[in-house]
């Protein structure tokens, strides 16, 4: 039976109601096979031994199959209409690749407009985004929740920009980025608790530690290419997490570290009743105490950190090392023959990316006041990488769009709890199928000897 399912047509039928019905019928049959075991039965009644039973849910199966049947017919009808429109325009696809992807990609989209637009327009969009970001805490509709959300989105924007150096510019696929984030967070937490250092003193130290880890981990493995590098970095990410879980004397294991000091505004703490002998932020400025003051401060801290990351990337792209990263991404062999040392060049990208993750990590620790290994699981790495790739690798603006879309939008589904990650996963697949090169297309090298030819 399994082999037979491979016989279904690869492309939706061209025309004819009968063909459409047949196609939808096959899709419904497959969905029946998919739904039967997992929709149809639910394992219930846990406990010892024979207490287990199955609960039957035939209505779910019927609903799922009918939905697929109807959906497939609708899709085919829509595609047929779409193809007719295309044919009039004389732009029928060349028959290679998936018709759905082709049809959808042919439609005008925001990303395409942005991509084709003049640099001036892009700068205007970036400027508008920056203005909104700067004014965000001042908007009247922004409550504590939205402010928090802004902090979270900006954290991911910053991490995305940091990872963009590694993945987008240098072309190194890093699936363990969260390890450096964790190093930064634990560095800050431990330094602040044991040595009584403040946030701003710890920040460079945390970045340095993370960069050091990047060099130590990167040195032996950076000569690996592509997917091998991906899997090794994934392994490193997991190793760091396992060590954090098991190294009780230092990290307090799975219980994590709590009571991490909050940042203060040039020595002025954000507290309703400050400790004896200190003046709180609201007292100093003669304001009413509000808990949002601290969050607004955190918001501007992460905004500044993110902008520093962005500025750094924009500038370093113009330095020899930045050029070398992009060249290395395009063609490693050519680079080697031109005397660029691939290992050292990659190592700088890896270390700098790690450093920004370290900054992000310390910020995370100070914002939460509590960290545990649970916050640094693989899924975080996957989300950050998804932001970079979905945005369009190497595109700084794309990272912002993708972070807002992935984090901000799925956050609104929070009430649906378990459906949130379901939608997140499905969204990742959908965006990739719809625009494989990201929302904004892949960034070209900053300079080129010859203009790019017809071949994309």
């Amino acid at each position: 039976m399994a082999a037979e399912t491979a016989d279904t047509p690869q492309h939706p039928p061209q025309d004819g109601i009968a063909a459409i019905l047949k196609d939808a019928g096959i899709a419904a049959l497959i969905s029946l096979a998919l739904a039967l075991p997992l929709f149809g039965f639910r394992i219930v009644g846990f406990g010892s031994g024979r207490g287990l039973a199955l609960e039957e849910r035939w209505d779910w199966v019927v609903t799922a199959v009918l939905a697929v049947f109807a959906g497939r017919i609708a899709l085919n009808l829509w595609l047929r209409r779409f193809r007719a429109v295309l044919a009039i325009g004389g732009r029928v696809g060349d028959g290679v690749g998936d018709k759905i992807g082709q049809a959808v990609a042919a439609a005008p989209r925001l990303g395409r407009i942005l991509q084709a637009a003049k640099p001036a327009f892009r700068i205007a969009v970036a400027g508008a985004l920056l203005a909104v970001a700067l004014a965000w805490p001042a908007f009247p509709f922004v409550d504590r929740y939205l402010l928090d959300l802004g902090v979270i989105v900006l954290t991911y924007v910053m991490l995305g920009w940091g990872l963009n150096i590694v993945v987008g510019l240098a072309g190194l696929l890093d699936l363990g980025y969260v390890a450096f984030y964790a190093v930064g967070a634990y560095s800050y937490a431990l330094l602040a608790l044991h040595f009584d250092l403040g946030f701003w003193e710890c920040l460079p130290l945390a970045g340095a530690f993370a960069a050091f880890f990047g060099i130590v981990l990167g040195f032996p493995v950076l000569r690996l290419r592509g997917d091998y590098l991906a899997i090794v970095t994934l392994g490193f990410g997991e190793i760091i997490r396992i060590i954090l879980i098991n190294w009780y004397p230092v990290t307090n294991g799975p219980n994590g570290i709590s009571g991490i000091p909050r940042p203060s505004f040039f020595g002025l703490p954000f507290a309703a009743d400050p400790p004896e002998g200190t003046v709180a932020f609201h007292q100093f400025f003669g304001l009413e105490y509000a808990s949002t003051q601290r969050i607004a401060f955190l918001y501007y801290v992460i905004l500044a950190l993110a902008l520093v990351t962005n500025l750094f990337t924009l500038r370093i792209r113009r330095l020899p090392v930045g050029r070398a990263w992009e060249a290395l991404r395009e063609d490693e062999i050519a680079c080697r023959s031109l005397g660029i040392n691939p290992r050292n060049t990659k190592l700088t990208a890896f270390a700098i990316g790690a450093m920004f993750a370290g900054f992000g990590g310390s910020f995370f620790a100070t914002r939460q006041g509590f960290i545990s290994p649970e916050s640094f699981s693989f899924i975080e790495s996957a989300i950050i990488l998804a932001i970079v790739v979905l945005g369009g690798m190497g595109s700084q603006l794309g990272v912002v769009l993708a972070a807002v879309l992935l984090i901000g939008v799925t956050e609104f589904f929070r009430e649906l709890e378990q459906f949130r990650m379901l939608a997140f996963g499905a969204g990742m697949v959908a965006i990739m199928v719809w625009r494989p090169r990201g929302l904004l297309a892949h960034r070209d090298p900053t300079i080129r000897l010859h203009a790019r030819g017809e071949k994309a």
Binding site: I43, F46, L52, E238, I239, I242, M421, A426, M428, V429
Partner: protein
């Protein structure tokens, strides 16, 4: 000595399960050069379908263990294959010929989706199953420690050996296997020779999913508990096994699975159980540094 022998048996059993999953990774990587990140989730779905099939057979009154096992095996393989096929059709086929990272991101998304899909449908709680296959041999009794070789372990090792042997034959001797190996070498040329490349790739996914389903069934029988999260760790270890053995190589996947199973078991037995996963990853890193193509992989020739 007895302790060592016992760990050897346990390690081989675990290695058999990893090896079965690793074959799915290595075949897909060989043919389209992508890490099928969702493969671990296919394994997890296989375990859930096996679990449900067992309960269903129990409710139908089929309690003769060998028959029940065989039926569950078939049911799990068939239904899990449909999942494998659908994942390829929806998430990977539209991206064929796209740039390198796109299928990987799509696969990670699919993995997140499937995990939460099962969590939503079947609940997040751990599901324990009463042992189905019980009993076993006792060898070298004495000194208060006996080496036991349970029937379940024998079943797992036997089924794995049979499956791997038949798979090697399938790849090596049949037209389908020839088509797969041809696609691995040159997809355009294969298509020119009249082979339906898309269908061959689909079949590869179906075969990988069927083997993952068997691994899922065995995992469930061996450990007795499953939850929606088992796919992640097992998947990563199986991928490690595939890389260790040399990705794209079928015997390599089996060897790698066996090695990862043994390393993990011996490390937990003699050193520390907390760091057993670290041991597996460290071995992976060491192998990649000193033998980047894996133990049985062919060296990649760089063409300019």
């Amino acid at each position: 000595m007895e302790y060592f022998l016992q760990q050897l048996i346990n390690g081989v059993t675990l290695g058999a399960i990893y090896g079965l999953i690793a074959i799915g990774y290595t075949m897909v990587y060989g043919i389209i050069g992508m890490i099928n990140f969702a493969h671990g989730e296919i394994f997890m779905i296989g375990a859930f379908i096996s679990f449900i099939a067992f309960l269903l057979l129990g409710a139908l009154g089929i309690t003769f263990v060998p028959l029940a096992l065989l039926l569950v095996l078939l049911l799990a393989m068939v239904f899990t294959s449909v999942y494998g096929w659908t994942v390829e059709r929806l998430a990977y086929r539209p991206l064929r010929g796209s740039f390198r990272l796109a299928p990987l991101i799509s696969a990670i998304g699919m993995s997140i989706f499937l995990q939460n899909y099962v969590q939503v449908l079947q609940g997040a709680r751990v599901k324990p199953l009463q042992p189905v296959v019980t009993g076993g041999f006792q060898m070298f009794k004495g000194d208060g420690f006996a080496v036991s070789f349970s029937y379940l372990q024998i079943v797992i090792i036997l089924v794995t050996v049979v499956l791997m042997a038949s798979f090697s034959l399938l790849i090596g001797r049949t037209a389908l296997g020839r088509a797969q190996r041809a696609c691995e070498q040159d997809r355009v040329m294969t298509a020119l020779l009249g082979i339906d490349v898309d269908r061959t790739i689909s079949t590869t996914f179906v075969m990988g999913a069927a083997l993952a389903a068997v691994a899922g069934l065995m995992f469930m029988l061996y450990y007795g508990v499953i939850d929606f999260y088992i796919g992640f760790l097992a998947g990563i270890k199986a991928f490690t096994a595939a890389v260790l053995g040399g990705i794209g190589s079928l015997p390599g996947a089996m060897l790698g699975g066996l090695l990862i199973g043994l390393i993990e078991t011996f490390w937990s037995a003699y050193f520390s159980i907390e760091y057993k996963d670290v041991a597996a990853y460290s071995i992976l890193v060491l192998v990649l540094i000193f033998r980047p193509t894996g133990l049985l992989g062919k060296p990649e020739i760089e063409k300019v």
